[in-house]
Amino acid sequence: MRPATDAIQIRDLSVSYSVVAERPNAGRRTSLVRSTERRLIHALNGVSFDVAAGQVMALIGGNGAGKSTLLKTIVGVLKPVGGQIDLYGRPHLLAPGMGFNRRLSGRENVVLGGLAGGMSLDEVREKQDQIIEFADIGGFIDMPTTTYSSGMFGRLAFAVATHIDTEILLIDEALSAGDAGFRERAVAKVQEMCRAAKTIVVVSHSSTMVAEMATHAVWLHQGQVRRTGELGDVAEEYAAFQAAGGETAQMDRSIADR
């Protein structure tokens, strides 16, 4: 039964996926066929926690802890192998540049990126000028994006991604686009999105400003929840764990599939 305030309920979630990796000592052998093998990664194992509606939840943990995997599972890119996630609202992963075609103009990419992000055509048309104004790249908006500097492209991609309305916002990308002036506006925009979205889950390294908005945190370690609670308590415990040298490479959760 859903408590009236929950936006996300995660129960006993496990996620595994396979990746192609080079076989150990492959370089020493001569083979007619590939020297790679498929390895199964157990990225999340028995993860359970709730996120209340209106809450900003930070995900804390070292590289390979399973933070990005968790966000991709919430958004629906990855499929659980065990447990389940109940979402009371449509989730959106902030992914600047998704759906863009680099050979087209910025203006055309605003439409493509907006549609890829789940906006309707009417919504895109309604917000197009607003997005272009936010990106603030002047006459380049009608030039192919291949002519853009990386900063300009980042600004446009960010502008599109942050104008998509959503109920559950997931943030994993580094939110640093453009110069200092733009970064300030970018953070303000994300904060505005956070206020508009009912619920936010943010990976702690994404943006200090956004992570600072979090009130609660989940600490993931080797694919499992190590601690949940108020941000200050969890962050303090995590910092102590790091200081004690507890954060090690976390890729030992893979097993050879074949």
Partner: protein, 282 residues
Amino acid sequence: MLTRRATRSGIPPLRQYLAESWRYRAFAVYWSRADVKARNFDTLFGRVWNVLNPLLFGVIYFVFVGIIAGGGLDQLDRFGFIVGNLYVWLFFNGTVTNGVGSIQSGAGGVLAQSAIPRVILPVASALSAASLFLRSLIAYVPIHFITGRGVHLEVVWLPLAFVATVMFGLGIALLLAVANVYLRDVSRLLPHLLRLWLYLSPVIWQFTRLESQGSEMVERLGRINPMYHAMVVWTVGFGGDLPGSDESVAASMLVFSVWAVGALLAGFLLFTSREDEFATRN
């Protein structure tokens, strides 16, 4: 409420899947338009290449058939036949190749970062191929009249052949896109397989030639090929002759339609039952 839960790999609830796909229909149309527009964007002739490219293919194969196969270069009718059929083949070829490529490329991060129903991407590729084909007809129409094919009633078969070719091409694209996710060698083999399929189909040669050589086995094998029936309908629709005296356009249309529906159904079911794995296997 949306629920993500562990389920056995299999076909998703179809009504929900189709409704979600419909939600992204505008993306499919715009992605397809962007694909067509982005082609040849850095060339002098730009979009003219969309028309010029198949025309040049036609010229090359006309010369090839004329010189190598001894057909001569003075038969205008043959030129019209080759160009028309090659346009159709490039349309089918583009639907398959781009459909497989759309899943392999990940479509600008769409595959890795969003839950868009994956079938949208090959559908968008099919729309691109269909759009390019219709544009290339701009070059075919004058050739059609110059080569003396004129106005004829059989043209009514073309819309049906068009729809069936989209369906068949999309079905094959979906099947091969799945195979390519598991075995990347498929995309390497694909151009060779399609080239072989082109030569095994009555695209640049008249099927009657083989019949006149008395090769019954080849003739029988030829009729197993769904693109044989497709090309019979297209050829007749373009004002050409039936390949054999006992052929019926209606029968070929029926056979090709059955293949088209079967391929699309099989492709769709296999594709949707496997699409959960695309993000991690890409």
